[in-house]
Amino acid sequence: MVPTRYRVATKRQELTDTWTLGLEPVDEPLEPWSPGQFNMLWAFGVGEVAISISGSEDDTLLHTVRRVGAGTEAVCALAEGEMLGLRGPFGSRWRTVEARGKDVVILAGGIGLAPLRPAIRQLLLDRGSYGRISILVGARHPEDLLFVEEMSRWAESPGVDVEITVDTASSGWSGHVGVVTSLMDRVEIDGSSVHGFACGPEVMMRFAAKALTDRGVAPTAIDVSLERNMKCAIAQCGHCQLGPTFVCRDGPVLDYATAQPLMMVRER
């Protein structure tokens, strides 16, 4: 699959190491996408990285990228007007449609809020189809919190709770301190009618899923997003393969009953 050329239309610095790039097509745009899916972003001359779609505005696709190595560094260094290659959209989507009629609990950690943001926007656009929506967000420090303004807008929607916590803070911070799962104590749920969504580092997702199942949510009613190294993204190279599952094709979003045994498999 050949990359399609896109141009950086907008660039917004979110955190010291994280930017949201708005990408507009130079040639034919990619196929329509769903929340949870990802694209392969190719910084010419450096390489490709898998990045979830964090939203869209008109023709512009948003990707929120944290700089961790050469590939993401090259993408984050792109200036407005510069070009890159895009392949996608790949993978599975968050099961927002299947969650209709239920209460929703979302647990997001760190950059994990970015892949969940389009799902949250979709839930809020279709607000009447869901019961209570609890959005629980964790980050390392207060200055590492993504989309702070947007989160306060979400909190204004009726029946939506947004709770934020950080792992450590100085005494100037007046919000919660503690791991994201500790926010579950503040949510009143009837586990049998809840759909859970969790995204973040794998350890965090394991604890998030445990916190949900401890409260009676079925593992099959919890979506998690697996992050494995990817190359082809079309189920051919085997790079992301975990047993019979290709994370690029069958994931990244999987129900926890399917994902749990895979999460125990070490990355190759």
Binding site: V68, G109, G110, I111, G138, A139, R140, D144, T165, D167, T168, A169, S170, S171, G172, W173, S174, G175, H176, V177, G178, V179, T181, S182, D185, R186, G200, P201, V203, M204, F207
Partner: protein
């Protein structure tokens, strides 16, 4: 509106759900209502741990003061959570500061009174210890997860 008695308030606390009615009758004699303004210190590091608290409303932070560094908040606690375990173990001194972050209401239980009742009735002491052990293990798990620094990059973690 009729004010609830300490006994009624204790019975509402999830922390005490495994205790018997007779236990609550005994414990109620050691309890009283407490209120703190936002910013008020509930207890300070090194002070005698003469009480523990069950938070009813508001939010409390646990802060550690390290010389030469800004004070660090290690955790925050909210409604239905237990504040303070140092009253259980000698030398019965607090290891951190507890500060009300919002207007906070709590039930304050007198540790000397409680320790006395537990000595007199070891079965009550055992049941109370079991409730505390659950809270302490849960908090330990959370601290372990915090220590993992799951949101840091591997490079940053390696460099501390």
């Amino acid at each position: 509106m009729k004010h609830k008695s300490i006994r009624e308030l204790l019975a509402e606390q999830p922390f005490f759900h495994d205790l018997r009615d007779s236990d609550l009758d005994l414990l109620a004699g050691c309890g009283e209502n407490a209120h703190f303004r936002a910013g008020e210190t509930i207890f300070g590091t090194g002070e005698p741990a003469d009480y523990f608290y069950l938070i009813r409303t508001g939010r409390v932070s646990l802060d550690i003061h390290a010389p030469g560094r800004a004070d660090i908040v290690i955790s925050t606690l909210g409604p239905d959570e237990v504040l303070g375990a140092s009253w259980l173990i000698p030398p019965y001194h607090w290891n951190f500061d507890a500060i009300a972050r919002e207007e906070t209401g709590a039930i304050r239980l007198d540790a000397t009174c409680l320790r006395g009742k537990c000595e007199d009735d070891p079965a009550l002491g055992y049941r109370l210890m079991k409730s505390f052990a659950q809270v302490i293990v849960d908090r330990l798990q959370r601290v372990r997860l915090q220590l993992l620094d799951v949101y840091g990059t591997p490079a940053a973690r390696a460099n501390g």
